[in-house]
Amino acid sequence: MSDVAIAPRAQFFEDADRITHDTEHRRRIQTAMGKYYVSRYSRQALFRNWQEARQTAAETKWAALKELDKHLEAFERNATARGTQVHWTSTGEQARQVIVDIIRRHNARRIVKSKVMTSEEIHLNQLLEQLGYDVIESDLGEYIQQLKGEPPYHFVFPCMHLSREEISDLFENHLGTAQTHDPEELTMIARRVLRQKYIDADIGITGANFVVADTGMISITENEGNARLTAALPRVMITLVGIEKVLPKFSDLALFLPMLATAGTGQPLTGYNTMYAGPKQPGESDGPIEWHVIFLDNNRTALLADPQQRDALHCIRCGACLNVCPIFKNVGGLSYGTTYQGPIGSVITPHFRGLQDWKHLSGASSLCGACTETCPVKIDLHHHLLHNRRNAIDEKRGFLEGMLWRGFTFLINRPKLFSLSIKLGRLFQPLHALVKGTIFDPAAAWTKSRELPEVAHESFRDYWKRRQSK
């Protein structure tokens, strides 16, 4: 399923290196995040007790996962009672097959999508385009990224790295529109193009932010109204969602919706929070005649099976951990090479796509803990980065690293030998200058961007002896 041309690790280091040296890029990200900080933390301050709200949200998600099977069954029961068709898929391949079958059955040609992160996970657009369907992303940021031929940069702010000039160029090239550097005019260009698409589309595909078990609803959070149009006008609606998105009760939304809005963008509530309970019901004036909800596992059960990291499935994809992450702000979203960027992406991608291929992301962290601190559902993100590092080593020990540690253990257990090696080190350190920066430098990886600290003139043991003998 993975279609990465070069190894993820090499790609990450290459791209991260390039972006960290691109000061214009970093300035743009810093400005955007600066705005986020102001609105988010002033909105959070209006909560009477944000910390208790977080704890409640975390416990609600914990309880939801604890009985995940029961909640999913309840959802299915309640949703099918109103005519919703529920599908279960273990892999991306299966999910794609279910979607293609629905499209074929309806002889559909035109497909409009609102933001569906899970569809990035299963590379749905590529497949549908290959099969010759007209697929269009309707979220403005996603639409811009689709024109650009790039995956989303940030799973909440898909094109935050582009300037208005770049967007204007894109529109000129693809849509033949005149240059304009006014964000409002640019938005109106997209509005005009996309409006007719909703009306003409045969099928609308959406994602979901929450699956409500006790009422059999899914809840979609958005600002633009594109998801609402996608779910209103086409004849057939398809919703693709991960199995972990469950909330036990309808009333839980009263807490989760404002928390998602506050942590995600600093709004009191996101523009539209829409709950769908079925296809068009008798007596209703519009809506799809068929609604398919497709549940996707795609290794979520593997993460569920790890009790230590299970809480990573609490994630409500608010994006806050990316916004506060010093690594994200320097390496940028595309460097990750993942569907989910930032700390949460570094934590879950190894579970979804293989630990050995993606363990490097857990190493790319200062472990400052800003992510854990900001997470509205209290996921222990920075500890999970450590868990991934440990698990990667437990699974596959590097030969050289193992030798090094064994040598060190041998030395440190023999005081005489240890102090001798310190003395030798002091003696030979000046020689290091001769090889520094060349291929013969044994400490090359370290000295590339740092100075090797000087070995102390007197070891602590010697100092102690001297002090005692005074």
Binding site: I144, M160, L186, N223, G225, A231, A232, M275, S285, A305
Partner: protein, 232 residues
Amino acid sequence: MTEREKIFTRIRDALKTQAPMPGHHGSSHKPHAISEARNAIAGARQWLPDPGADSAAWLEQFQKLSAELKTVVHLCNDEADVHSKLRELALAEGWRKVAAHRHPLISPAATAIALPALETDGGYDANEMAKCDVGITACDALVAQTGSIFLTTRSAGGRALSVLPPHHVVIAHRDQLVPDLPAAFELMTRLYGENQWPSMSTLITGPSRTGDIERILVLGAHGPRKLTVFLI
């Protein structure tokens, strides 16, 4: 085994080991019952932003947030007042066609504007609705805490009427204003209860917006550029 059974088997196998409670560090599981106060709806209420103590405060909060969100709120004495304000608005914005639904508050208002009107009840042509300048709807509740409007496909003439036309006008009574989200969700459950749920319910907070281009706020991304509430 069907794929469904396989997934449920994996879930049940995974859940044989319990995960530690959030906020309790350490690898061994310490079982705690979720505290009733936290989980109960009243629990969430006490941590959310304060909507104020009485209906006057709620109204003030609703108006304050609406102003921030760029929702226009008109306080009206009666329906006749709504109708005359609507006629002024129609003239000022040069409306040529309106879309509405059959409802004791809405139908008289649509008639009062005296313009060609599309009614969504029983189905309509989306291309025709796209030509309308305004969609006029009722709603189920207004939420002071967040400046939101709660409506459903049943109370507001379908899924598209409140999102496709470039201007969404809501007509509501002042007693539809509830203090906070928990109260709004309680109300919805009371109204629609067991399996009477409309196929769509939505909480609308301000006109359609995006910040996707350089995080600069633009109104009217896909949905309405304007949102006006007439409160009787």
